[in-house]
Symmetry: C2
Subunit: 438 residues, 2 copies
């Protein structure tokens, strides 16, 4: 039995029209490769090297990647699949298991730029516009498509919330069973949003790191043999979905790489993939070769990558996460060392902010751009402010900040601090008494 998409998956969010007019693109992926020892494997369902236990990633044929053109991309659908020629799965539209995320708005943030003293231009890449309102739809679409191709019949995930939402929604769309494991203390919005899809939702009494350890054990059991754990046994494919954020930023700027990008870090994977996307576009000649700098953002309640950066460490020392930015609360970040590499190679830095600054970041972004971010977006905006104030980010260079999720998912920290500015009776007299009119 394999994952099936019984006609209910659209190849294109624009409805009944074909996703591509041209021929099926060639798959540029030729296998998996260990990031540690370089051993190569086929396109298999493993995330750790059989030789050294290092992490596996997709190994692309550079010749095939270099042949990709702007025109080829622009002829594709208005979602992540327009970049399929740079991805390891989904080349045949019928093979995709996807909510068709992507092509989220790149919002010009002139009012925020003016407040912060940025003169080089500021943009917000707003991934709350994805189908389940976070960037996780990108990675789940890749993972679920890979799972189908690899013959799995179910999907599963350990999640801090956004991934849970996305996995359950993908499973509901195509009608396959899913198992989602979440820490039991998640925000109510994220719990309801995952549960409403009618899939199996398991609340685990522990931290995300506990949940993650549990699913690693479950993945080895006979009962879960036919289950793809999206961020474990199909992680190499899953992780590639994040590259599409980088591709979109460059395309939406008119095929140009911004000088500076500020990116929230949980596992650290997203930051490494945005950097990778820029390198690929440059190597393929799709954009001009220009320099860029990636900056990482963490909350003070979970700052292992920030601490490693400050201390000049190559490895990341695990922490026990606290604080309101739950979607970033990964205390043992799998891609931390690779994120550190990318930040140091590009001359970037890492900022950390506390809960009050995070709430202020959410409010600053909303007030000046109309974009309502979840706590992770508040982290990124608050870190942007910090980096400008510290002089670590160049105010004269063009900057992009990522909002990775939707404010409606994390209302709790805002409820005590925002609300109606006035309460009145339904009468002119009452409005007058409230000082709204003279």
């Amino acid at each position: 039995m394999t994952l099936t998409a019984p006609g209910s998956i659209q190849a294109d969010s624009t409805g009944g029209r074909p996703a591509h007019s041209g021929p099926t693109p060639v798959n540029p992926a030729r296998g998996l490769v260990c990031r540690n020892c370089g051993t190569t494997f086929g396109l298999i369902a493993e995330h750790a090297c059989a030789e050294c236990f290092g992490p596996l990633e997709v190994d692309y044929d550079p010749e095939v990647m270099r042949a990709v053109t702007r025109e080829q991309i622009e002829a594709g659908p208005q979602n992540i699949w327009r970049y399929v020629a740079l991805l390891p799965v989904g080349h045949d539209p019928a093979s995709r298991v996807s909510l068709d995320p992507g092509m989220t708005p790149l919002v010009r943030a002139d009012r925020l730029a003016a407040e912060l003293g940025l003169t080089g231009g500021l943009w917000v890449k707003d991934d709350s516009a994805n189908p389940t309102h976070s960037f996780k739809d990108r990675v789940v679409s890749l993972a679920a498509t890979a799972a189908k191709g690899l013959g799995y019949s179910k999907i599963a995930a350990a999640s801090t919330g956004n991934l849970a939402n996305s996995v359950a929604a993908h499973a509901a769309r195509v009608g396959v069973p899913s198992f989602v494991f979440i820490p039991s203390d998640l925000e109510p919005g994220k719990v309801v949003q995952s549960a409403v899809y009618g899939q199996t939702l398991v609340a685990v009494e522990g931290s995300y790191d506990d949940v993650n350890r549990l699913t690693s054990e479950l993945a080895e059991t006979d009962e879960f043999e036919d289950t793809a754990f999206v961020n474990q046994n199909v992680r190499p494919y899953y992780a590639e979905g994040s590259k599409t954020v980088g591709y979109e930023i460059a395309e939406q700027l008119g095929w140009r790489i911004p000088a500076q990008v500020v990116i929230p870090m949980a596992s650290g994977s997203l930051l490494t993939k945005v950097d990778k996307a820029f390198r690929e576009l440059t190597a393929a000649g799709i954009v001009e070769a220009t320099e860029w700098t990636v900056f990482g953002a963490q909350s003070a309640g979970c700052d292992p990558i920030a601490t490693a950066f400050d201390n000049g460490w190559d490895v990341v020392k695990p922490v026990k996460p606290t604080g309101i930015a739950k979607s970033l609360n990964i205390g043992n970040p799998a891609d931390g060392p690779y994120a550190l590499d990318a930040i140091r190679r590009t001359g970037g830095s890492v900022g950390r902010v506390g809960d009050e600054q995070i709430v202020q970041g959410i409010r600053d972004l909303a007030r000046t751009t109309g974009v309502f971010a979840e706590t992770a977006g508040g982290v990124t905006v608050a870190v942007l402010r910090q980096l400008v104030e510290d002089g670590r980010l160049d105010p004269a260079k063009e900057t992009v900040v990522l909002n990775t999720g939707e404010g409606l998912k994390t209302l709790d920290p805002l409820e005590p601090v925002v609300g109606p500015t006035h309460v009145v009776e339904p009468s002119l007299k009452s409005v007058r008494a409230a000082g709204l009119i003279g």
Copy 2:
């Protein structure tokens, strides 16, 4: 002083690229016309006829409308402004005050169709994908653009929540003051989402109809002379934004009008505008002339249009709204008679469903499509089921249902009925005891 958009409004959500490649389209609007007595006016800031107090709507030049082509539309941006040649404002991209909503997904719902016994094809038009996650971004973009053109310096609205979110976000994006008036008993999500933008938010202790009456009075005061009330003094322009839902459905089906559409009704305006969009596309020869039927959906807690339909009345008797579908709780629906006209002319019907059915509708849609709707979407899906069971909707004909808002905005009714299916300790033993594995 006029509304200004100091470079912070994008003409196109794809970022820095121009919104149109061709010349600025001609404005097809030649004035306003009274729907009651036919008196014509210029493109002014009025919503009621000076002769008979009837509602004013935009009067288009049929010759100009008929000259619009598919190619012209398809060359436009991936948002509502691709249809600007059929709209009364925004022809110059620089004139737009907009979050650039629209081109939301049309999701194929084969699994829901199978459950309901629909054989002609079923689609969900998912307007939760708009920037503030409801269809209101469409109307606010038109209203705010009209307000700017008419010389207003502030915007305001009476709202059941979604409109509040959208007006506050639009005001934040461009940096103009806004005044939003909401009933004080709204869902917390909608209150926080409006308040977070840092604009004036007035909670009124009363029903939506009370709020609406209050803002009608305020609009006449000297203090609000420079304020456009989006659904009052610029209502004729505002209302035209809803036409874009109809245009998109037709375009996303490959320039074809679906045989049946099920639409939630609050004021009734949205239903009349979808019908109007289909008539305009047909008249312009952009789609083939085919027949369609529009169905209205109300909640049992606020069913004045349903009652008028059942009784064969031409007028709508106001009710005092109750029930969980707060975004539909307009007891005195301004466009009720026109909605009845469209439903009767096309051979449609009106359904009404209670709160339990609404929650079930939300769950059915989520479980079968991965789309998480707010209560209004639950109303529409539950009414679809009712119409099929009653034999009022033809299961062999292609059907589209509208989801007008996001489930994250109305979590309250779901919290008691959905949640984790299992709660475990982080151990294989505990997972085994919970029955997840053998």
